[in-house]
Amino acid sequence: MADGIMTRPDTVGDPQILAERRQAAWDEYRSLPMPTRKSEEWRYTDLAHLDPEAFEHIVDAVVAPEPAATDDLPGAVRDVLAGSDSRGGTMIEIDGGVARLELDSAWVEAGVIFAPIALLAEQRPELLERFLFSSDVAPMERKLWALHVAALSGGYVLYVPENTHIDDPVHIIRWLSRAGVMVSTHSLIIVERGAQVTVIDEFMSEDLEGEAKSLNGVEVFGGDGALVNYLALQRFGAGVKHFSMQHANTPRDCTLNSFNVSLGADLARCDVTSHLLGPGSDSEMLALWFGGRGQHFDYHTLQHHAAPHARSDLLFKGALTDRADSVFRGLIRVDEGAQLTDAYQTNRNLLLSPDSEATTLPSLEIAADDVKCSHGATVGQVDEHQLFYLTSRGLTRAQAERLLVFGFFGEVLARMPVDSVRERMTDAIERKIGI
Amino acid sequence: MSEFRTVARLEEIPDNGLHPVELDGVSIVLASSEGEVLALRDQCSHEEFPLSDGELVNGQVECILHGARFDLRTGAAKALPAVRPVKTYECRVVDGEIQVRL
């Protein structure tokens, strides 16, 4: 790791709490061995190529004193803004630094906080003290998590007070501008009792000449009866390697849903965990990916039922073409005493080319007896009979194939809670299929 | 087809032993067996482990990871868990230099 950056984490300007946690994470990072492909969790993604030394770390990225003018934003970001119906709040992050952050004044008055982490450390240290980096991260993820924390570039906190319902989505656009950097971003979402919000984290870049790394941590903490829809849209260009670690912490009667879309990057490793901690908690976990070129997607999911009477439902669907490959490794874990659990897990894969490859490992670990748990996984191709039928109705083979791929994703897209995002993702997939 | 190129000197390979080399970014394992030198792709067809970490056993190269074995001449899989052959390369010895053609 380059001197001056990671050997001595530069905590100048960090609020104390951040500095402490960063230092602890750095110590942990150095003490842990790098996981190798011999460990099950990293069997399909080789962290040896993570090579943090080879990148310029953007630590303590700046918060712009003045919000960036729309004209100064990258074209792709402007396009997204134009199509966004996120009047709840918007943040534009460029290489981990905050270029613009807006929150509707009505929500400010209601006590909603939407701010860079560093800023909140000064205003509400007790919130950070309690929640920041406090999720239960699995041992095999700790090395990467520690790196993420130690190398934190920036990130935001969204705090929604009791019984406040933010009707429009809060939209965060994270732009990566150049090769050669490692950016580490964090999303801390705290939603009090009975409150509701939908958050969109959108990751973008152009195709880069060279390689860049994106580390991302997400922590969602719900209060009793809260409802959060969290959407992660990964639309990086070529050259990016993206590592996302998402933790939803769900107490009594709380619903935390997640929706991951992966279309971009060369490599995207995504760990999605729902900790079902209270009775009546609920988590719907959805994802879709469409891989081309030599893209590699590696999804790890955990539905951890630590309390009785909770429900989780996971549906992950991926289609692959060219030389793309994907891994799904999912686990439902039901602790002893977590009776009356309802947990489902489905992974379906569509292989559209001879050189694409899908690996799926849906697992169950069940230590309570009064449960309903099932899982299913399939890997297959576009149905020849359906193709034949459609071509006999006058469609070209390409058109028919495209239609069937959409049919395949339709089941997931239909459950997308934000209409405008559904439309944009549909367009993006359409462009990518390009059949 | 490309030309024969020198990848090692004969004395670098132990008798009835293995020796890894690289040519144009391709990992190759040289095997010296009964006075002859043969060249194979240095990657087991089972889990892509380098064959050069393994051993020569009864004229076959054995992967150390799970014991898969391959014929030195044809690259054919001779023991499970491998089911696919590994690629072989033309190989000759000229004036004590081992030459391989990709």
Binding site: D369, A377, T378, V379, Q381 | I64, H66, G67
Partner: protein, 469 residues
């Protein structure tokens, strides 16, 4: 079971194979594993030099490989406390009358001569480390079938033996395959010539009698083109407070158009570690079926596998596991599709009761080029108590888009409605439970030979005893 009959009236012992005969071996190696022990085993078998070399190399591989960090808990398995070789008699017998009294008594209690009087094509019996008895009906011998102890296979048919031995499960495959390769003793050598069809099973019984015993049988089966046969093995041991250890390796080659079925009814006592590698290579248009019943042992780790290397080869694994108090059944199956149009099916059913834990672990791999391959995996787990546990770990690796792969698994407890219904028809809760469990495993139990199906049913009744209330 008639509805007025209770489990008690069946009069079954807790574990009916818990008896032992006096320990009178003609040779017993020192406790623990060493090069010396390996050399002694080889010397006792008067083997060719190459086999001793093979063993010694395997021992090195065993030492070099780490213990698996997945599956069951192996911490309490202390290999220093195990006897790796125990020779019960000087020679193997062909006539039942010549088997020593104490051993004969054991097998009579297990019902072996009885079974043979029935319709079996051949019977083998292993006691501790050696096959003590092997016989094949004349009519089959005349057709060229070879059914011998593995040692006699090596002695009498060295060429066939050497051509196939350790090509299906090489020593380096896994730590316990390496161990078996170093200390193997006993097991069967089976050769079914081209076109010969044996419609009745060959059967082998494996008995561990002594305390702290390790049994390491090695079986090699070659089924030539167009031949058909099946093989059944049963395993039992007395209960000891110390640990016993069984680690077998089974290698099967099924040639083009041939069919073979291998059935295991594993009913080791609950102090047995059972770590077995069973693998088959299936050629074009051939079919291999594993029927795997794991009822006994403390910990079993066993995943019968089919490598489908020829076009249109078919593999099937039917697995049933029962994990009672303190037991862990880590079982499943592997199918590797390496040729076009290959098909496979895995059906796994497990029951966990008390503190029992059953884990399904499986692999379905499709290589690029295995166009048109189809595989389906179904796993069902039944949990009887709050303290029971089940896991499912299927690995699915697909490198060919022209294929169709499916996996489904479900976990459930015995349904209240079903129980209520049956009890309203006059059954006790225990009887109702028994019936539900029987129904659950029925799809696999019906694949078993009659005597084993009956035994399985009895076992379930026995295990259900006291499960209520």
């Amino acid at each position: 079971m008639p509805k007025n009959e209770t489990v008690d009236q069946l009069g079954l012992d807790e574990y009916k194979y818990d008896f032992r005969t006096e320990d009178a071996p003609v040779y017993k190696a020192e406790k623990g594993l060493s090069e010396e022990v390996v050399r002694q085993i080889s010397a006792h078998k008067d083997e060719p030099e190459w086999m001793l070399e093979f063993r010694l190399r395997a021992l090195e591989i065993f030492y070099s490989k780490p213990m698996p960090d997945w599956g069951g808990d192996l911490d309490t398995l202390n290999l220093d406390e195990i006897y790796f070789y125990l020779k019960p008699q000087d020679q193997m017998e062909r006539s039942w009358d010549d088997v020593p009294e104490n051993i004969k008594e054991t097998f009579e209690r297990l019902g072996i001569p009885e079974a043979e009087r029935k319709i079996l094509a051949g019977v083998g019996a292993q006691f501790e480390s050696e096959m003590v008895y092997h016989s094949l009906k004349e009519e089959w011998e005349e057709q060229g079938i070879i059914f011998e102890s593995i040692e006699d296979g090596l002695r009498k048919h060295p060429e066939i033996f050497r051509e196939y031995f350790a090509t299906i499960v090489p020593p380096a495959d896994n730590k316990f395959a390496a161990l078996n390769s170093a200390v193997w003793s006993g097991g069967s050598f089976v050769y079914i010539p081209k076109g010969v069809k044996v419609d009745i099973p060959l059967q082998a019984y494996f008995r561990v009698n002594a305390e702290q015993m390790g049994q390491f049988e090695r079986t090699l089966i070659i089924v030539e083109d167009g031949a058909e046969a099946q093989y059944i093995e049963g395993c039992t041991a007395p209960v000891y407070t110390t640990e016993s250890f069984h680690s077998g390796v089974i290698e099967i080659i099924v040639k083009p158009q041939a069919r073979f079925r291998y059935t295991t009814i594993q009913n080791w006592s609950n102090n047995m570690y059972n770590l077995v590698t069973q693998r088959s290579m299936v050629h074009e248009d051939a079919s291999m079926e594993w029927v795997d019943g794991n009822l006994g042992s403390k910990l079993t780790m066993k995943y019968p596998s089919c490598f489908l290397v020829g076009d249109r080869a078919h593999g099937e694994i039917l697995s049933i596991a029962y994990a009672g108090d303190g037991q862990h059944q880590d079982t499943g199956g592997k199918v590797v599709h390496a040729a076009p149009e290959t098909t496979s099916l895995i059906v796994s059913k497990s029951i966990s009761k008390g503190t029992g834990r059953s884990s399904y672990r499986g692999l379905c791999k499709v290589y690029e080029g295995a166009v048109g391959s189809k595989s389906n995996v179904e796993c069902d787990a039944l949990l009887m108590n709050e303290t029971s546990r089940t896991d499912t770990y299927p690995y699915i690796e697909i490198d060919e888009n022209q294929s169709s792969i499916g996996h489904e698994a479900s976990v459930s407890k015995v349904g209240e409605e079903q129980l209520f219904y049956l009890m309203s028809r006059g059954m006790s809760e225990e009887q109702a439970m028994t019936m539900i469990v029987r129904g659950f495993i029925e799809p696999i139990a019906k694949e078993l030979p009659l005597e084993y199906a009956i035994e399985l049913n009895r076992l379930i009744e026995l295990e259900m005893e006291g499960s209520v209330g």
